[in-house]
Symmetry: C2
Subunit: 229 residues, 2 copies
Amino acid sequence: MRTGYQDIKADILDKIRQNLWPPGAYLPGEIELAQSYGCARATVNRAMRDLVDDGVLERKRKAGTRVKAVASQNARFAIPLVREEIEATGATYRYALVERQTRAAPGWLRARVQLDADTQVLELRCMHFADNQPFQLEDRWINLDTIPDARHQSFEAISPNEWLVREVPFSKADLSFAAINATPEMSDFLGAAPQDAVFMAERSTWMDHRNVTHARLYFHRGYRMMAQF
Amino acid sequence: MRTGYQDIKADILDKIRQNLWPPGAYLPGEIELAQSYGCARATVNRAMRDLVDDGVLERKRKAGTRVKAVASQNARFAIPLVREEIEATGATYRYALVERQTRAAPGWLRARVQLDADTQVLELRCMHFADNQPFQLEDRWINLDTIPDARHQSFEAISPNEWLVREVPFSKADLSFAAINATPEMSDFLGAAPQDAVFMAERSTWMDHRNVTHARLYFHRGYRMMAQF
DNA sequence: TAGTGGTCTAGACCACCCC
DNA sequence: GGGTGGTCTAGACCACTAA
């Protein structure tokens, strides 16, 4: 059997685990490794690039490849549509629009995502239910300068989340997560007790350096976000 | 200038944004694209594999390549050592061991990470400070069957986090995040008010299918975890 | 400036899996 | 069965950067 890039990855990881190549140590160059594995340089290259992607190795031209001194590995997680997240558990999804208004962008939002003073936004509040239990409360602001079409969307049948995914197929986003205490209003919507700890995700979405939308997602009591690496 | 794989990625993303290739649509095959870009098939292949990795495309042999119907993109975030996270902000890091004992693994932990009934664990409680302000409270259980050397480590000068990174250079991990209300004990350690919302990260680390350690990390009030995609 | 990784090519064989 | 993507090769040139 031939030596593939996955075999090489596994072998490198083995050597790291066995402390043959401790953190910070330099690995042999690609050419040398290719010879010892009996394969082409490109195959070694692919294996090592993969390991950089996984956060295991560091590479610099001329300097060489070394085991990352601190194994600050990269975790990945998928960000699905709320609907898909709910349906994946086998529960029935229901969406409801709570509030909708067009207004000038509030100051905190203008500062957060760098909007002009006169930018109009569509402000939405929605609820997402799983088997009729509150799952997520969504506060969202859509930049009407960037997405003027949103002005004519009622968002009564389709959630802004899904609509935007269709309208803006690809974009960049910043994400952050935090724990906050429920306000009385949030408690009402989420069926939580006053002061309950709420998991919040905040997301800004961008397209070509222009802000598309900003959202604050408040999850039901006990929600857990999972990731792996 | 030659057409590189990054140019091809950019071009594909452009076409998706312009809705020339809407979600669910099939792209031309690699050979056809290679001809139209005037480059080798391997170059197109690399670009498209990258986009699969980014969560933009889906590929199946024989079927072809299509734009992911739902853009459930992959977010990535790095998980650094607490010390590095703190020092990156310019603050001074301080570590303190609060408690240390060897005991049989508690039932919830045995169930969580599949341990035998008689497994011994080293139970640790530590504090991490940023400029002498409480930053993180860490509850940790180290599996002594897997990592017997931990038994002889005092963990008074070095945090289990850093020690384990050195001892177990590479491993797999599960991660989850949640918001919880502070217990009185947590409030004491973190300087939080009773019932304050606390951001919690829980992590299990594995090596060759054997559990290495389990940790619960409680962050200071107002902590935000950031990610991008 | 010399050595290392980054990328590309043209061709090849193969595994998978939809039709 | 046949078309698609997955992978590998042997060679080449290039870009970056540490020494």
